[in-house]
């Protein structure tokens, strides 16, 4: 591989200046729909993505098999009002209901908009039948459409391109540039060529997805992660450095996955009726939640972790009882979310129709703490605006997340808001020669470092700290130790060596992952209770305490230190009074 060693020196990095109205950082589902929304208001839009072509980049570039929807199909549960009634209990009283309402009410229209773009939500096996929908994760109805979304990202990526946006592929944004407390644009670089981009924009939309590569997993391979390992909290870290507030950062998320392979696709198993059993053959999930295997994702993870700790592991998924038609559907759609999943079972010599297979929980990630209609990230208001005017956020990097459906609705909304904001603002002042030189020199500094600290070792150290001192079972003493160690690592960041332009990306990713880890520990220390299934378990405060816990914890940077504040959510965590008892609410 040495033939790829890049001979470029820092002085060889060409610099490009670009002017726009709205800069979208991240070209996944939220980012692409943000582009479409912003372009509709007449704004000139630039979008940067670390991945390749925007038609395939991001978490669902390879495909997706489900979309959360409200369709008004005549059933009582299939309306925004019915669902909204359940959101406080679903989120255990910690969310922004006004933002959730924007998301939920935007769902029916978003389905129509995506269909107009060319997304087909029908079952390819039965194109004339109504959508095939199922119930997952503690939701009060069969909201989730199962479909062949192999081309979902291609279609919305193409829509973003057709909206006229300038697309910078394989381009990582290092930081938002600020001017008197407002965004001025951003500095970015191409991860292959090293070209530096200074993008002037009046509004910036952060849509960089979740935080992965944060803790160790069963295989010990850092990039073997449930969600996209190239999502490293870049937008969340940029927002903090720019002075914006993050919310709910104490809640972490993981899922159940075949042991040794952290993968998506488990919704298909639990939604399709698979049992989760322990080494005694018991369907133990009913001990943890009345909905059994159809409890929230975070309850499933908590149940499995607890069974293993109490000596009833290993844990298995069991599909043997399913009718042949259901098994066929499961096997046929297994590769849509993760094309290599069938290969994994083949190389492992497992026939999931005939034998249970061992599962475990995946690594920790920061996304939404295992429940829909809440996010762990940049705190946004109902218009998608962060605590800083001009900085917007959407999708899994924001405080309102609900899979790709949530990313679609909130991305489009943030795009519209940013477009309106930008065209009403005076253009940002240009960067003079001296400012430009300073910014560029700062970005490429790790390229000039020789014999410095390896980003591999740095990242591994962050994962060790998160795994051993924060983890799924938290206590004050160990988290304080984590914070101390993470701060010590921070002091060594200027020694990080990039090697090449790809390595320059890795250096900034490693720094962002460390910052997210410190944010997680600092916030989790302040929530002195346990809440949200596996999302936040304090062994020193094992009970859920509504007296202190029905609050949203926020974190921001004040003079280079993370500062946590909290405010009451005004919500109750108890389940709503049923409006009625529709038959669809009965568990089968």
């Amino acid at each position: 591989m040495s033939k790829f060693t890049d001979p470029l020196q820092p002085s060889d990095s060409p610099v490009h200046m670009i002017e726009a109205d709205v800069l979208v950082i991240g070209g996944g589902v939220a980012g692409c729909l943000a582009v479409v929304g912003a372009a509709k208001s007449g704004a000139r839009v630039v979008v940067c993505d670390k991945g390749g072509r925007i038609e395939r980049s991001g978490s669902v570039g390879g495909g997706v098999d489900h979309f959360f929807a409200i369709l008004h199909n005549g059933q009582e549960w299939d309306t925004p009002d019915f669902l909204l009634n359940y959101i406080p209990s679903l989120t255990e009283g910690v969310t922004d209901l006004d933002v959730a309402e924007k998301l939920v009410r935007g769902l029916p229209e978003m389905v129509h908009m995506l269909e107009k773009m060319g997304v087909d939500f029908h079952d390819p096996e039965a194109p004339d039948a109504p959508y095939y929908r199922h119930r997952v994760f503690g939701l009060p109805g069969e909201y989730t459409i199962n479909f062949d979304g192999s081309n979902f990202k291609h279609i919305i990526g193409r829509a973003a391109r057709q909206a006229g946006a300038r697309i910078l592929e394989r381009t990582m944004v290092k930081d938002v540039l600020m001017e008197e407390g407002r965004p001025r644009g951003a500095v970015a670089f191409n991860i292959r060529t090293g070209e530096v981009y200074l993008i002037l924009a009046r509004a910036v939309i952060l849509a960089t997805g979740d935080v992965n590569r944060l803790s160790r997993n069963a295989s010990g391979i850092p990039f073997d992660s449930w969600h996209l390992p190239y999502n490293t909290g870049d937008g969340q870290a940029m927002a903090l450095r720019a002075g914006a507030r993050l919310a709910n950062m104490e809640f972490t998320e993981s899922t159940l996955s075949p042991k040794g392979y952290s993968s998506q696709g488990m919704n298909a198993f639990v939604g399709g009726g698979a049992y989760v059993i322990n080494s005694l053959g018991e369907r133990f999930m009913f001990r943890y939640h009345p909905n059994g295997e159809r409890a929230r994702r975070t309850d499933l993870t908590h149940g499995v972790a607890t069974e293993i700790l109490e000596g009833r592991g290993p844990i298995y998924f069991d599909c043997r009882h399913l009718p042949p038609g259901d098994i066929d559907r499961l096997v046929n759609t297994l590769g849509v979310d993760r094309p290599a999943m069938p290969t994994f079972f083949k190389q492992k010599h497992i026939d999931l129709t005939r034998e249970p297979f061992e599962i475990s929980f995946t690594e920790l990630s920061v996304r939404r703490g295992g429940v829909y209609f809440r996010g762990s990230g940049i705190h946004i208001d109902p218009e998608g605006t962060s605590s800083i005017p001009g900085i917007f956020a959407a999708g899994d990097c924001s405080s309102m997340s609900a899979g790709i459906a949530g990313a679609s609705v909130m991305g489009y909304l943030a795009g519209q808001s940013a477009g309106r904001y930008a065209v009403a603002q005076p253009p940002p002042t240009h960067l003079d020669k001296e400012q430009t030189a300073h910014i560029v020199k700062d970005v490429i500094r790790p390229l000039a470092m020789k014999g410095g600290l390896s980003f591999h070792a740095f990242e591994d150290e962050v994962r060790s700290i998160v795994t051993d001192y924060i983890g799924y079972r938290r206590e004050e003493r160990r988290m304080k130790e984590a914070i101390q160690r993470l701060k010590a690592l921070h002091n060594r960041e200027s020694d990080l060596e990039a090697g090449d332009h790809h390595g320059l990306m890795r250096v900034y990713e490693a720094r962002n992952i460390r910052m997210m880890a410190e944010t997680l520990a600092t916030t989790a220390l302040e929530r002195r209770e346990s809440r949200g299934g596996a999302a936040h378990v304090r062994v020193d405060f094992p009970q859920t305490d509504d007296q202190t816990g029905l609050r949203m914890f926020m974190v921001e940077m004040v003079e280079d230190e993370l500062q946590v504040t909290s405010r009451p959510t005004g919500l109750s965590s108890s389940p709503p009074e049923p409006i009625s008892r529709p038959s669809t609410l009965t568990e089968s």
Binding site: G62, F344, Q347, I470, Y472
Partner: protein, 96 residues
Amino acid sequence: MTMPIVINEDACTQGCTICDYFCPGDIIYRITPDQLPVVKYPDECWYCGICADKCPTNAITVIFPPQMLNCTTDVRTLLGIPVPDDGSMPDDTPEL
């Protein structure tokens, strides 16, 4: 390490750059169709299989390494509670 993505160079005849563009990471480099693709950063592979799935000549195979196929990790070590060397859990494990 085990190479996660194995490319059959004889089968790779299409002259496309699909593997490079479809990879959600920055792993496979095929800048122009006249080069053979190179798995440049194998340690960063997500094991998603999109490259193999989209390759028009089926030239790509994803190979899972032993620590993924036959994972023997005691997952209690991933929970944030120290596990003694003998593998037993400490007596003061809190009831949860």
